[in-house]
């Protein structure tokens, strides 16, 4: 398991379907219907760049990432944070086939963007923290478990096409 992250490691072979309980489906859809993509996305990406500064390596074209204030105020970071949320939205709408939904995105992150797949888990942890802050007490342990399971499937699918 990579040093920094505690998101669960999933081994989904292409012949194994992820099974979702009704509670998990409802919870995931509910969370994504309530959060504002252009608030949560930017906040999660900015937090990732601050808490795990080596992830800034992928954003050298983004201008000023010199300190936390600069990162938070950076319009390219915000825009990309929102883009990420819309990417997650596709998984929410295709819960039973996230792996295939993400084939092209996985190839993109591997072949073009050259992102270390361990870093997906770091962003996932930051997203969990931001959503927890947004939902407060409603982010119960059971809701957290469903959300983290969703992110683990996303992370696993994004790493599938690396070779």
């Amino acid at each position: 398991m990579p040093e920094n992250s505690v998101s669960a490691d999933l081994q989904t072979g292409s012949d194994k379907m992820v099974e979702w309980t009704d509670f998990e489906r409802d919870t995931i859809k509910d969370i994504f219907s309530r959060i504002e993509y252009d608030v949560v996305g930017p906040a999660a990406l900015a937090r990732c760049l601050v808490v795990y500064p080596w992830t800034q390596r992928y954003f050298s074209g983004f201008g000023n990432l010199y300190n936390a204030a600069a990162i938070k105020g950076n319009p390219m970071v915000s825009k990309h944070g929102t883009t990420i949320m819309h990417g997650l939205d596709r998984a929410v709408k295709n819960l039973d086939d996230i792996e295939n939904t993400y084939t092209e995105l996985s190839v993109l992150h591997s072949e073009k963007l050259h992102v270390d797949p361990d870093n997906f888990k770091l962003l996932a942890d930051c997203l969990t923290i931001v959503v927890a802050a947004q939902l407060g007490k409603e982010f119960t342990g059971e809701v957290q478990a469903a959300f983290q399971k969703f992110l683990a499937v996303v992370v696993s699918s994004l790493g599938r096409q690396y070779h």
């Binding site: 505690v6 808490v51 927890a132 802050a133 939902l135 407060g136 982010f139 342990g141 059971e142 957290q144």
Partner: protein, 144 residues
């Protein structure tokens, strides 16, 4: 991984001063979440008659853990020395696999976000994450 800078220590102490009044609730919630989200951690509590996340035993354990974290804040300048006995306890008696320190730390951070959304800024998050990692390392010191 990395040493705590003077700024990290200052940030951790200032944030702890703000939140320590709720330390019991923080600890109880963190342990409860750990038991629910990472059910494999329940194996360490097989001796509890009631292993549910909100049981009195789980709450008591959360309180104990956060008291340890609060104590670690006061020993932030030399965690290895300061947490020597706790390390011996975890190494020889409890034998908690050190991977679980990261899991509990993550859940402490989630609880901070839930309970203190405006104070738990990214800057506080990074310093607290580093601190909890340093505490975990000090707790693992005597393992082998």
């Amino acid at each position: 991984m990395t040493t705590l800078t003077a700024k990290d220590k200052q940030t951790v102490k200032a944030f702890w001063a703000k939140v320590s009044g709720k330390s019991e609730d923080i600890g109880a919630d963190a342990v409860a979440r750990m038991l629910v989200v990472y059910p494999q951690t329940k194996i360490y509590f097989s001796h509890w008659p009631d292993q549910s996340p909100n049981s009195p035993a789980a709450r008591k354990h959360g309180i104990t853990v956060m008291m340890g974290v609060g104590d670690a804040v006061t020993k932030i300048d030399d965690l290895k020395e300061g947490l020597k006995e706790l390390s011996q306890l975890h190494a020889f008696t409890l034998r908690v696999d050190p991977g679980n320190f990261k899991i509990l730390s993550h859940n402490i951070l989630v609880v901070m976000a839930v309970m203190f959304p405006t104070d738990f800024t990214p800057e506080v998050h990074v310093s607290l994450d580093k601190f909890l990692a340093a505490v975990s390392l000090a707790l693992s010191e005597k393992y082998r």
